[in-house]
């Protein structure tokens, strides 16, 4: 029963949503609305589950004095601080338990949560994403080597698109006459993005979509059970 009940639920909800997608008449819209509400409630609790798991793991590492336990403690302190500030004074226009916290806003210029968000969280997040630029540069230097005809073709396309997406593009090829405007870098870039790129993206999307249809069908029919954990 432990394994059969989830399979039955998956089958019924899958079939109902699938059929409801084609039949606009009652009761399918109402069933869909109900399932949407249930899904949103479960999603909300899933967030709580994640936070509880985070707390448990970090507390355990600090308690056991695991290697680098100080960083886990810093994580717990940050978590606690943001939670406390958010609960007590809220953020932006949202009030907290102590209202809009006018006193503290007068001192800091903004709510404590917003202060930490704008001065700590935003710069830290943006910095992590910015690392990508460095890794792209080192990967391009190391791996973008012309070895075959295909890589040659790729290189030419990459050069056109990389130059075409910069502010140098109009300067580099702006002198080309209007009759041959399609040779200008921005126009060439638009052509590459609109035709060969889109065709390839479409093909991968269609294949992936078919894979999703197959996997979803297997889940609905109970052939695929890995989401329950473990094998068949």
């Amino acid at each position: 029963m432990k394994r059969n009940l989830p399979l039955i639920v998956a089958f019924i909800s899958g079939v109902v949503i699938l059929v409801g997608g084609f039949i606009p008449r009652d009761p399918f819209p109402r069933i869909e609305s109900t399932l949407i509400e249930w899904f949103m409630i479960i999603s909300g609790f899933a967030i709580l589950l994640g936070q509880a798991s985070l707390l448990r793991m970090n507390v355990a590492r600090v308690a056991e004095k695991a290697p680098n336990w100080q960083y886990y403690l810093a994580g717990l302190i940050s978590f606690g601080l943001m939670l406390a500030f958010g609960l007590l004074w809220g953020m932006e226009k949202t009030p907290g338990l102590l209202g809009q916290g006018q006193g503290i806003v007068d001192k800091l210029g903004t709510k404590p949560f917003d202060y930490l968000f704008e001065n700590a969280f935003i710069p830290l997040s943006a910095t992590m994403f910015s690392l990508l630029a460095f890794y792209i540069a080192s990967a391009a230097y190391r791996a973008f080597i012309i070895r075959t005809f295909e890589s040659n073709l790729l290189m030419i396309t990459a050069v056109i698109v990389m130059l075409g997406r910069t502010s140098f593009a109009p300067v580099l090829t702006g002198w080309i006459p209007d009759q041959l405007s399609w040779l200008r870098l921005p126009e060439l870039t638009n052509f590459i993005m609109q035709y060969p790129n889109t065709a390839a993206q479409r093909a991968i999307l269609i294949s992936a979509a078919l894979g999703i249809v197959g996997a979803s069908l297997r889940i609905i029919l109970g052939i695929e059970r890995s989401y329950l954990g473990g094998g068949k």
């Binding site: 609305s33 949407i36 949103m40 999603s43 226009k93 994403f129 391009a140 997406r165």
Partner: protein, 290 residues
């Protein structure tokens, strides 16, 4: 793959050169101008085509990590919508989205006032509203198609849906004239396309990071699944150009352009090095074989 020691030094030189390539054009701007593309013009055209007073949604489906690319887009679109008199409803499929929205609204107000002290004010609740974050992605959008009030019973200040003047004509997503989703991943633009446009025929336009943009181009088609797309910092700079001002995106195109040229130089250098190595290996093999 094993990385030899020499590569570690080379990597650090690459990183240092990239830092310089990005920092120097910020300190000493080159004054380069960008050029708009049809994809961004389509988004602009969608906003431009609608009259005053129509309710629209701007969905902030990103977090601070992609603030450099998507926040300028958000500000440009908000400014355009306000200039056209559209009633902007901010929603978010990502938890940090509502804060990104508030920062954008604040910055646009401040910029409009700096340009013109007598500029029209845009009060909260009349010209814009922030409905906050809701989990669920695609499922949430489907719910919005049945009842906006059921999904967003209050806004972020706690005010009830029925008490907000701006939301009076908006019963379902079908009452919205367009959705612009600024999306850094999932849930995001794809869910809006599949549900808002696919199911409820609401026009959807989007802005994404540059790396994700090519993946959304198949949706820009005759059926108008996507009404144009702003891709990355360049897309934001193009929208600023169409609006007639030079914001953070336009200024950011200077270092981005120099960085692109530098990466091309790295690729060239890498290929020269690889070609020399292949030649040396071939000569060594020939010498060995006699």
């Amino acid at each position: 793959m094993k990385m030899p020691e020499r590569s570690v030094v080379e990597r650090r030189i690459v990183f240092l050169l990239l830092v310089l390539a990005v920092a120097l054009p910020i300190l000493f701007p080159l004054g380069l101008k960008t050029q708009s593309t049809p994809l961004t013009e389509q988004v602009y055209g969608l906003v431009e085509s609608l009259p005053e007073g129509v309710p629209v949604i701007i969905s902030f489906d990103y977090d601070p990590s992609t603030i450099t690319e998507l926040q300028p887009m958000a500000e440009a679109v908000i400014e355009h919508a306000w200039k056209k008199g559209h009633k902007v409803i901010a929603t978010a499929m990502w938890p940090q989205g509502p804060q990104m929205a508030e920062i954008a609204f604040k910055d646009v107000q401040a910029r409009m006032e700096r340009k013109d002290a007598a500029a029209k004010k845009h009060p909260y609740g009349e010209d814009y509203i922030n409905l906050g974050y809701k989990p669920g992605g695609l499922v949430t959008i489907q719910g919005m198609g049945r009842s906006m009030k059921a999904i967003f019973p209050t806004d972020i200040t706690g005010q009830k849906y029925d008490e907000i003047p701006l939301l009076k004509p908006v019963r379902t997503l079908k009452d919205i004239r367009y959705v612009i989703s600024l999306s850094a991943g999932d849930p995001g633009l794809r869910d809006w396309i599949m549900t808002a446009n696919g199911k409820f025929n609401v026009p959807v336009a989007g802005g994404t990071t540059a790396v994700s943009a090519p993946g959304f181009l198949p949706y820009v088609n005759d059926q108008k699944q996507l009404y144009g797309l702003m891709g990355g910092l360049k897309g934001a700079a193009e929208y600023e150009l169409l609006l007639g001002y030079e914001g953070t995106a336009s200024l950011g195109m200077n270092p981005q352009s120099v960085a692109h040229i530098l990466i091309l130089a790295f690729i060239l250098f890498g290929n020269i090095r690889a070609w020399k190595k292949r030649k040396a290996d071939r000569l060594a093999l020939e010498a060995k074989n006699g």
